[in-house]
């Protein structure tokens, strides 16, 4: 199951009511087809997370409209799962019960017990169901976070720089994991990242955002067939284009040989 995301002239600002209002997003127009994996690339602090929060239903936009399958977003929904940059696991619950939060909140824990187990296996944490979060490494915690989002069988998965705080090796592993899970389930996915290579590796389309207040600078379709690899020569042109848009010259961005 997957949904279409439509953003029409969406803008967002913080503050107001006498304080200096801070515009964060301006005139965002975006269409995401069902089942697509779209990467949102942009410099730090440009408002990418704010955009995801609007789509997740956590904050309403100050202007424009955000639609899911044509219907306006009015609040959060378990089928629109958000994976945060911090795993934010509940420390008083073990891994299994953290993943089970979704079903428990929706009063379906008995029915979905098997799904919880399945999802924990899917992310590769089979033996760790009864471990507490304080004993997990960063990568494992982020996997639990992923599992927690997936257990509700979402039609839209929003990923807010999920791999930003992990070491480089774990990042490589988890990039492939997320791709695999996406292929298996077929949901629509929006990946916010500041890592250009990650965006090019994973996405069908790369949307480049400017610095705050964020506007869409470019919407590139990545026509390269998967599996792709880091440093893939077929991605070189797109890479140069994206980095150019973000303000980097060729000399600054050449791959280390």
């Amino acid at each position: 199951m997957s949904v279409r995301v439509s953003l029409h002239d969406v803008s967002q600002q913080f503050g107001g009511h006498g304080r200096e209002s801070l515009p964060v997003l301006e005139h965002i127009d975006l269409e995401v087809e069902p089942g697509e994996l779209v990467a949102l690339l942009g410099p730090s602090g440009c408002g990418k997370s704010t955009l995801l929060r609007i789509i997740a239903g956590l904050d309403p936009p100050s202007g424009g409209e955000a639609l899911i399958d044509g219907a306006p977003i009015t609040g959060t929904d378990p089928h629109r799962a958000l994976v945060f940059q911090d795993p934010t696991l509940f420390p008083w619950r073990d891994v299994w019960h953290n993943v089970a939060i979704g079903p428990q909140a929706r009063h379906r824990l008995d029915k979905d017990r098997d799904v919880v187990n399945e999802v924990i296996d899917m992310v590769g944490l089979s033996g760790f169901a009864h471990v507490r979060p304080n004993a997990l490494s960063g990568g494992m915690a982020q996997r639990v976070s992923l599992a927690r989002a997936l257990v509700n069988q979402p039609s839209l998965l929003l990923l807010d720089e999920p791999l930003g705080k992990l070491d480089a090796l774990t990042r490589l592993t988890l990039q492939q994991e997320i791709l695999r899970l996406w292929r298996q389930a077929g949901f629509t996915a929006l990946l916010v990242t500041h890592d250009v290579d990650e965006g090019l590796l994973m996405a069908d389309r790369v949307v480049v955002l400017s610095d705050r207040p964020a506007r869409i600078l470019a919407d590139l379709k990545i026509d390269v067939e998967r599996p792709r690899s880091h440093g893939d020569p077929r991605l070189e042109d797109d890479r140069r284009k994206v980095l150019g848009l973000l303000g980097f010259t060729d000399a600054e961005t050449a791959h280390a040989q």
Binding site: F90, R148, N152
Partner: protein, 354 residues
């Protein structure tokens, strides 16, 4: 995809402090000092027992109020021997029950010091007669007084315990409910905060005259006093705990489909529990002085009342016995609270150590 990431194991409560000492003691040839320290408890108590029994008691000055303590010297010696025997037994059973034996070894120097203290007390009061009744009492005098008054003492203990528990439970429950409401709802906070700030810090003992007049019975008044003593810290810390919950927890639960009810009961309250437990400790601490004052002033039962009664008779040894029982009550209740906290907040074990 196989994971080869390492998992840090959560350390066992108490074990990590025990490890250096035990590791040292079990290593071959390591510190005869450590080994001596871990076995010194039993011999110390045996020494105390022997000295108590063998050294003749100082003849007491004739004083109609004070009983001769001699006939309980034997009891004291036997009690000390029993302690020594118990410690030896626990240490010897170390192979089958390593836990208690290990803890005993760790506390051995302390227990030996305790034996030394008892011996010192015994010598200074009963043997050498340096400190005598009515103001000073030998251990065997306390034993005598306990045996003669044990019915009243145990009844007083029960009365105090009951009053304390009733007041504490009511005060803590109300405090918890109000604290959660204040932390969750801005409107409740608006109305309750000024009340909390002005009435909360008042020591309940100041309200004793008012309450004893206003309430139908002194029992009820005392219970209310103790509840008031508990209420303030529990409310403040529960409120603070709920208020400081990481907002991201709410975002996460929201996007997973949580209703408001789920957010309060399954996110806010569990996250606030560490702060709540701190409030409970403070609340419990506030109940003891309130209890004693309430009992001294109005209620005709309980340890506070007994202490004052004996004080009016100038029977200080009996007063000391009651104080000792109170020590057991207070530290026992705190130990219980610590135990409950360790069970409920097991997840917090490695993050906070107190």
């Amino acid at each position: 995809m196989s994971t080869t990431e390492s998992v840090a194991t959560a350390s066992h409560p108490g074990e990590s402090e025990a490890r250096p000492v035990d590791g040292a003691a079990s290593r071959e040839g390591a510190g005869w000092r450590e080994r001596l320290a871990s076995w010194c408890a039993a011999p110390a108590w045996v020494t105390a027992a022997v000295v108590t029994q063998v050294w003749p008691d100082h003849a007491p000055a004739t004083n109609a109020i004070v009983e001769a303590p001699q006939h309980n010297t034997g009891t004291l010696a036997v009690a000390e021997l029993i302690f020594a025997g118990l410690f030896t037994l626990v240490l010897l059973s170390g192979r089958w029950l390593p836990g208690p034996a290990q803890r005993l070894r760790r506390f051995s120097p302390w227990l030996a010091a305790l034996a030394g203290y008892f011996l010192f007390w015994e010598i200074v009061t009963a043997k050498a007669g340096l400190l005598v009744p009515p103001y000073w009492a030998a251990p065997q005098l306390l034993i005598t007084d306990f045996r003669s008054d044990h019915a009243i003492l145990l009844e007083s203990l029960w009365a105090s315990f009951r009053l304390l528990m009733e007041g504490f439970v009511i005060g803590a429950s109300v405090g918890f409910a109000v604290g959660v409401a204040m932390g969750w709802s801005k409107r409740v906070n608006y109305w309750m905060n000024p009340i909390l700030r002005t009435l909360g810090p008042i020591p309940p003992v100041c309200l004793v005259p008012i309450l004893f007049v206003a309430m139908p019975s002194t029992e009820l008044a005392s219970m209310l006093l103790i509840a008031l003593a508990t209420w303030f810290p529990v409310t403040v810390l529960t409120f603070s705990g709920v208020n400081s919950v990481n907002r991201q927890y709410y975002d996460v639960a929201s996007t997973l489909g949580a209703s408001n009810r789920f957010l309060v009961w399954r996110v806010a309250i569990p996250a606030a529990l560490p702060s709540v437990s701190l409030g409970l400790f403070m609340g419990l601490g506030m109940t003891f002085p309130t209890l004693i004052v309430a009992e001294m002033l109005g209620v005709k039962h309980g340890l506070g009342w007994y202490i004052q009664w004996q004080q009016n008779w100038s029977d200080y040894p009996k007063m000391y016995v009651a104080i000792c029982i109170m020590i057991v009550l207070c530290s026992g209740l705190f130990a219980l609270l610590f135990y409950a906290r360790r069970k409920v907040l097991a997840w917090q074990q490695d993050l906070v150590r107190w």
